[in-house]
Amino acid sequence: MNRPRRICKSLSRFLLALVILFVSAGVQSSAQSNPGTLQQGQGAPQQPPRSEEGLEVLHVQGNVYMIAGAGGNITVQIGDNVIVVDSGVTDMSKEVLAAIQKLTTKHVLFIINTSDDWDHVGGNETLSKAGWALPDSGLNPIRVDTSSLLPGNLRAGASIIAHNNLLDRMSAKDSTVPAGLLPTDTYSNDDWKLYNGEAVFITHPNNAHTNGDSYVLFRKSDVISTGDIVTLESYPVINEKTGGSITGVLNALNQILDLMVPKENEEGGTYVVPGHGRVCDRNDIANYRDMVTIVRDRIQSLIRKGMTLQQVQAAKPTLDYDPLYGTTTGSWTTNMFVEAVYRELSKNEASSGPARKITKNNRKKNGGGR
């Protein structure tokens, strides 16, 4: 009769020991995985945790990935080496680098900047330092540092490629851009071609978002990285001070559409990584182009009726698109967009002579609707 009782007692002791073991192990692992709690007593600033888990990493197609959540969207193409289009904000650059290193063990060779916006170039230095330089090192200050020699006499310091107008602006006398973010290799013509396991076409559209934009086609993967020529979370940002124009944005959008081929039922095929927002196919880009064209036409017709900027804004020419692209707060409001378009089109109207009556024919010449 006593034997089962003894077994029960031993069993309960064993279970108790197991529970104590699990609880203490749990406390230990919790302390290890949450170093923030250890720092609280040391007066360390309590920053919200930021890790690459906060980023959204998507496989777009072929060799191309998109990283969202670090400012502007970042495109990563993995070929013989790695090409990165735009680098996000400075504060997130370590997380971006970690996310790239999770995708591949290959090194970044080229960083291509589509514009000089802070949320597109902020990670240039971090990504460049972690990358490899071409043997004929150029202007990159990172490469001059001889302590950065890598095995095989390679140097750290990936090339930062951009249109020449971008370097001119970022390195101007009054510029406060840190040297490590500056482009190191620039092009002045309309395009530049590279190879990284597939053909890579860099194209400069004239005066679109700025006067120094580039968009990048990865030919075999069939993916285009557009930078802020396409921003699905706002109206196109037309930076007049840096040479941006709605005419240029529309020309660039139509050029990009020309490069895109959809699969069956107008879906898939060529994909676009926009400056901001989700991965797009041709139908999405066409809808965005349609929106820009329609708003342009409406503002132009109101200008031709002799309306002032205030009257045009009061007429709400963007009303039907505001739920998707509009905002009354932040750095690029709907009113700012309408004002930028109004100013540009008013100038064009003034330079093209007296106001013309809109007819079906002359609207069609301008690429507009009825």
């Binding site: 959204e56 998507l58 998109m66 969202a68 969207n73 529309l250 020309n251 139509n254 559409l257 959809p262 069956e264 039922n265 107008e266 879906e267 898939g268 994909y271 927002g277 989700r278 991965v279 797009c280 196919d281 041709r282 139908n283 999405d284 066409a286 809808n287 182009r289 349609d290 064209t293 329609i294 036409d297 409406r298 017709s301 007429a315 020419p317 009303l319 039907d320 698109y321 505001d322 739920p323 998707l324 809109i358 069609k364 010449k365 690429g367 507009g368 609707g369 009825r370």
Partner: protein, 295 residues
């Protein structure tokens, strides 16, 4: 106290009950497999010949949706980027939409892990995942059929769909945005299948839009090849976009005039969905008849 043999029996029953859910996968409560022929008797004028321009009656739309529809020009379908747009998941059921439904069965558990449907119009294929997988992240691409997950609510299959491409509430330019979510209830009663859809769109709707569609089981029927090859039929200048400028769409009043409905009422809005609107409607001035308009 229970006698020992009754205690053992009770424990055995409990044990058997506890094993029950483990021993069988969760099979569906209704069978949707097969070929279904569409019944278009409901809303037939809108669904077969198509809705008339400017008919927004009984739809909970906002001013933004109204403006977008007013600007809509059917010449849009001459644009090569739009010519072959497929019917999105929320509208395919309203279009010529015979469907073929097949289950995707897990080989090991023999449970249904997804329903697969093909709809007649453009042979759009759709997956409704039943394995509890998460929806794609915010920046993933959108598609005509979106991303759908299903669960059983009694005998109804409840389906939630996100990541839809920009679509339409009606084929007269009334928009449905990419931010919309679609909730559907598939209900089978005998040889009939009813689908109740609920569209919530923060961009263009002020209230959910609920509609229903029906099919009848059609064994032996089959879908025919249906393919759209985009090509230029009417040439336009590069970058041309079909649309009407505000105030220039002369067709907007045609629907109200033709059917003698007050012009305010055809502009739609949530209010026009409810029976109470009849009282307000009775006090509204009627539009001129088409013959009076001509004079």
């Amino acid at each position: 106290m229970f006698p020992a043999n009754r205690t053992v029996s009770f424990a055995a029953v409990l044990f058997a009950l506890s094993l029950g859910p483990l021993s069988r996968p969760a099979f569906s409560q209704a069978e949707f497999s097969g070929q279904w022929g569409q019944e278009i008797h409901e809303d037939e004028p809108e669904r077969r010949p198509g809705p008339e321009i400017g008919d927004y009656t009984g739809l909970p739309i906002n001013d933004a949706a109204r403006m977008k529809a007013d600007s809509w020009d059917p010449q849009k379908w001459e644009m090569i980027e739009h010519e072959c747009e497929a019917m999105p998941a929320d509208y395919a059921a309203r279009a010529p939409g015979d469907i073929r439904v097949t289950p995707e069965v897990d080989r090991f558990t023999q449970g249904i892990i997804a329903w697969h449907s093909t709809v007649r119009i453009w042979l759009q294929e759709r997956m409704i995942y039943m394995d509890g997988r998460p929806h794609p992240t915010r920046h993933a691409a959108h598609t005509w059929q979106g991303f759908s997950t299903g669960e059983w609510e009694a005998d109804m299959l409840k389906v939630k769909t996100t990541h839809l491409k920009e679509g339409w509430l009606k084929r007269n330019g009334l928009p449905r945005s990419v931010n919309a979510t679609l909730t559907e209830y598939f209900i089978r009663h005998g040889n009939y299948l009813t689908l109740v859809t609920n569209i919530e769109d923060p961009a263009y709707l002020t209230e959910p839009l609920i509609r229903s569609s029906n099919w009848i089981l059609a064994p032996g029927d089959r879908l025919l090849p249906n393919y759209c090859l985009p090509s230029v039929h009417v040439s336009h200048p590069k970058g041309w976009v079909a649309h009407y400028l505000p105030g220039e769409n002369k067709w907007l009043n045609e629907f109200a005039y033709k059917w003698g409905i007050p012009e305010e009422a055809v502009r739609g809005g949530a209010e026009t969905m409810y029976p109470e609107y009849q009282e307000k409607l009775a006090k509204m001035p009627l539009p001129p008849t088409p013959s009076a308009e001509k004079k």
